[in-house]
């Protein structure tokens, strides 16, 4: 189509959340969940860049066995800061605080979250926490590993540990408040007719995520605070010389940090559970099993933490218990994958970009999840624990899974958020580049790990070089894959075609609001009288009934 482009305000005469008010104050003091979502979008993208630069330097450094780029001290800081920036300031807030914030009220037919001011407060808390962490990065850096194991972090490290743990402590409250806001909103603000089993699976996933945020985050916040107090005031919590126990730190740390993986992956699963039925135009297979498995993952996920500690010398009985429970948590994840696959059967599958991301997610999550079975296995974990096998495994889950889901979600809801369409071929290409680049980067690391290369090594025996070079080559492809969407998302804000209200079309309530939605979301409070993902009894979508289709995303 060769429409003449016009600035958005000419094309969309209605008042929406973007043009309702102007000026920096109207953004920094907004209580509109959609604007706060965009504030988060900008901030998490910034931290993704920070973490990404560290990752790039790590991969360049590992091109040669003796280390190509930096000193050992700097290398240790690079992987630590990469982990801290990516996990606490990008992955954990990414989908919930950006897409969840934007979409949950729209999806359940509400005007905003239950506590709009607390929503804004949680963004400010995130920013303050982020400033502390950036201060730590800027004044000497951080070299403890993102896991902050004691007594290295509390006694022996000479880097800026204190501001970093304070920053993460503060940031934790942002997560807690967001989770609280979501749970209250989902309980109390659903539109008439929006029963629990009509909720989009994205909302179920966020409900489960919020449970983990509320119950887990306080534990890690206090744990890091204790490590900070031990460092500042020599109180003996974890240092054996002061009567503490370093293993206690690991229990407390993983009690949150294992469930934190589910904070990262559950929202992604929610995104995929929206994209697949919508772009296959078919009810999702096993709705209640997908919804229930999210809750099961959140609950059982709290009972597996000590599988990070099979080689610390923990008791054999504890190891057996935690291995057993870790295998149990694999089942609900498997249930999701099977149900998504079954949803594709006899669908009407569009090849639009979000579908490519969703399928890419399944492929990468599949590998990440299955390799979790290796690590949960007591007899195998002894050999592969703390090697590159673990690095590959959790990147498959947290980058392959969570980030593919995040990008898939951005592509899926970008037309709603901005009312703009991004270039299709380029966006499909980016999805393919990401998938290939990701596998090339991280698959060799499974082999490296089994061969025995430990993690967090700035130098390594020469026999590991070939696989490291492959991995770095893959990383450069991967980097291109991440830069492309940023470029065309920015480009289409000005030059993209107008998307319209429901371009896919989809069945969710958020697609009944104008694009971009007005500040109050819905002009009249919607009433829900349809089942989720039901394309057959929805003549308003203009599909099976034969009505003309809304300008779709260039589907052929």
């Amino acid at each position: 189509m060769s429409e003449p482009f016009l600035p958005p305000q000419h094309k969309e005469p209605h008042e929406d959340y973007l043009n309702a008010t102007y000026g920096i104050r109207s953004w920094l003091l907004t209580t509109d969940h959609k604007r706060i979502a965009l504030l988060y979008l900008v901030s998490v993208t910034f931290f993704f860049f920070v973490g990404g630069i560290f990752a790039t330097m790590i991969r360049i450094h590992l091109l040669t066995p003796s280390g190509a780029l930096v000193t050992p001290e700097t290398y240790n800081k690079l992987f630590t800061m990469h982990g801290v920036a990516m996990i606490f300031f990008f992955l954990i807030p990414s989908i919930p605080a950006v897409l969840g914030n934007f979409l949950i009220p729209l999806m359940i037919g509400a005007k905003d979250l239950a506590f709009p001011k607390i929503n804004l407060l949680s963004w400010y808390i995130y920013i303050i926490g982020g400033c502390f962490v950036l201060y730590s990065f800027g004044t000497g850096g951080l070299d403890t590993g993102w896991t902050f194991y004691t007594p290295l972090s509390s006694i022996y490290s000479n880097s800026a540990v204190t501001p970093a743990v304070i920053g993460i402590f503060i940031n934790g409250f942002s997560s807690i408040l967001t989770g609280l806001n979501f749970i209250v909103t989902i309980h109390t603000m659903r539109a008439p007719g929006m029963t629990w089993f009509r909720l989009p699976l994205f909302v179920w996933a966020h409900y489960a995520t919020s449970l983990v945020m509320i119950l887990g985050t306080p534990v890690v916040a206090i744990t890091l605070l204790l490590a900070g107090l031990e460092r500042m005031f020599h109180l003996g919590f974890f240092n054996p010389a002061l009567g503490g126990d370093p293993i206690l730190f690991q229990h407390l740390f993983w009690f949150y940090s294992h469930p934190a993986v589910y904070i990262m992956i559950l929202p992604s699963m929610g995104v995929v559970s929206e994209i697949i039925p919508t772009l296959a135009r078919k009810p999702i297979f096993g709705y209640s099993f997908i919804a229930g498995s999210s809750i099961a993952i959140a609950v059982v996920g709290f009972l597996v933490w000590a599988h990070h500690m099979f080689v610390t010398g923990e008791s054999t009985y504890a190891a057996l218990t935690f291995s057993f429970l870790s295998y149990l948590v694999a089942i609900p994840s498997a249930v999701k994958v099977f149900n998504w696959t079954a949803t594709l059967y006899k669908g009407s599958i569009s090849w639009d970009t979000p579908m490519l991301y969703a399928l890419g997610f399944i492929g990468l999550f599949l590998i990440g999840g299955l390799t979790g079975l290796f690590l949960a296995c007591l007899g195998l974990d002894i050999h592969i624990h703390d090697t590159y096998f673990v690095i590959a495994h959790f990147h498959y889950i947290m980058v392959g899974g969570a980030v593919m889901g995040y990008l898939g979600g951005l592509h899926f809801w970008w037309p709603k958020i901005t009312n703009k369409l991004y270039p299709e071929s380029l966006s499909r290409l980016a999805a393919v580049i990401l998938f290939i680049g990701f596998n090339l980067t991280f698959f060799p690391q499974f082999i490296l790990g089994y061969l025995g290369m430990p993690r967090r090594y700035h130098t390594y025996p020469p026999e590991f070089q070939v696989l490291n070079v492959l991995s770095t080559a893959g990383a450069s492809i991967l980097a291109l894959g991440y830069l492309l969407p940023m470029a065309y998302f920015a480009w289409c804000m000005r030059y993209g075609k107008t998307a319209g209200m429901n371009p896919w079309p989809a069945t969710g309530l958020e697609w009944k609001a104008p694009s971009p939605p007005p500040t109050e979301n819905f002009l009249v409070t919607p009433e829900v009288n349809w089942e989720p993902y039901d394309f057959h009894s929805r003549p308003d979508l203009g599909l099976a009934a034969g009505a003309p289709l809304a300008p779709a995303h260039g589907d052929d």
Binding site: G313, I362, L366, L373, Y450, L543
Partner: protein
């Protein structure tokens, strides 16, 4: 022997073939599921591609039998993986009886090894092939981890704890060991080589090795006097603290009525935190030696106390639980 790009490290211990077998088992199952699901997705992706803009997919919502199948079948396979892994893990953790004990101390950023006869090595470990080797691991500072890929063994070295690991080398040769728990600046160079030797070569090496000046028992005996332990722990049981003759490996009766086996960890704790476990009939008089003795000195003291195993236990003042009057 191995190709340019091997898929697994050399197999040089009793554990290695078992671990690789387990790896093959889990890999096969996972590969089956990965390939099956990927093929299904790719097939559906092309087969059901939307050719007509208004088309809608078939309206079915689920199938309970299918859901049950894909919950129960993976659960059974997962339990098989769990069980096989558990069997091997228990094997790792159950120490055999007739071990050759070597003390390993990790500190930023080196490894110190001590052979039973006192010979010391740094970042090198010599062991005979075919013997059960037990490593007693201690740390002077942060958490380290002793990892030998060719043996498929790994154990954290935790300050304040003794951890044990065992293996039986099956193939002479030199094998990398690594520190596998991040421990600070030079973590990546905190490694070395395990040399597995024929028993006769090992014996010759022990005889000819240098650096064995201090037999740990002798060093421990000296420390026992220097640190004034001897003023209270009098051998004939007349001191203010129990005699240590025969105590190693025996059961000790505590003031609270419970019993504890006097192993390395108990002795270490009694030196560093004497108030933690008080022997029945004695006052908590002993000062702590926390910060005054190094891990190596504790090992020497332990070796000395171990050597008192064969000494006559005095009838009174021994601290050994009366029922366990062995030796």
């Amino acid at each position: 022997m191995q190709a340019q790009l091997p898929l697994y490290p050399e197999q040089a211990s009793n554990f290695a073939p078992h671990v690789d077998g387990l790896m093959l088992f889990i890999s096969t199952i996972c590969l089956f599921f990965a390939v099956a699901i990927t093929l299904a997705i790719v097939f559906f992706f092309f087969k059901y591609h939307r050719h007509e803009a208004h088309a809608v997919g078939a309206p079915f919502h689920g199938d309970l039998r299918l859901e049950a199948t894909w919950m129960i079948l993976p659960l059974i396979l997962a339990m098989a993986m769990f069980s096989w892994g558990a069997v091997i893990y228990v094997d790792y953790r159950r120490m055999p009886q007739d071990t050759l004990d070597i003390y390993v101390i990790g500190k930023q950023w080196m490894w110190k090894m001590q052979q039973p006869n006192g010979i010391r090595e740094i970042n090198e470990l010599h062991v005979p092939v075919g013997r059960n080797i037990r490593l007693v691991l201690a740390s002077e500072d942060v958490i380290h981890d002793f990892f030998v890929p060719a043996f498929r063994v790994k154990m954290d070295v935790v300050p304040g704890h003794y951890n044990m690991m065992w293996f039986r080398p099956t193939k002479p040769g030199r094998y990398h060991f690594f520190c596998s728990q991040y421990c600070g600046t030079n973590h990546a160079v905190m490694g070395g080589w395990v040399t597995v030797m024929e028993p006769s070569d090992y014996a010759a090496w022990l005889a000819g090795a240098r650096g064995g000046e201090a037999n740990p028992v002798v060093a421990g005996e000296k420390l026992f006097t220097e640190k004034a332990c001897i003023t209270c722990h009098v051998a004939n049981g007349t001191g203010r603290a129990p005699s240590l003759n025969g105590v190693y490996g025996a059961e000790v009766l505590l003031a609270d009525g419970s019993k504890v086996t006097a192993d390395d960890a108990y002795i270490r704790e009694s030196i560093l935190q004497p108030a933690a476990k008080i022997v029945a009939g004695y006052q908590p008089l002993m000062p702590t030696y926390q910060g005054q003795v190094t891990e190596e000195q504790i090992l020497a003291l332990t070796a000395y106390i171990k050597s008192l195993q064969s000494q006559p236990v005095p009838p009174k003042g021994a601290g050994i639980a009366p029922t366990a009057g062995k030796k």
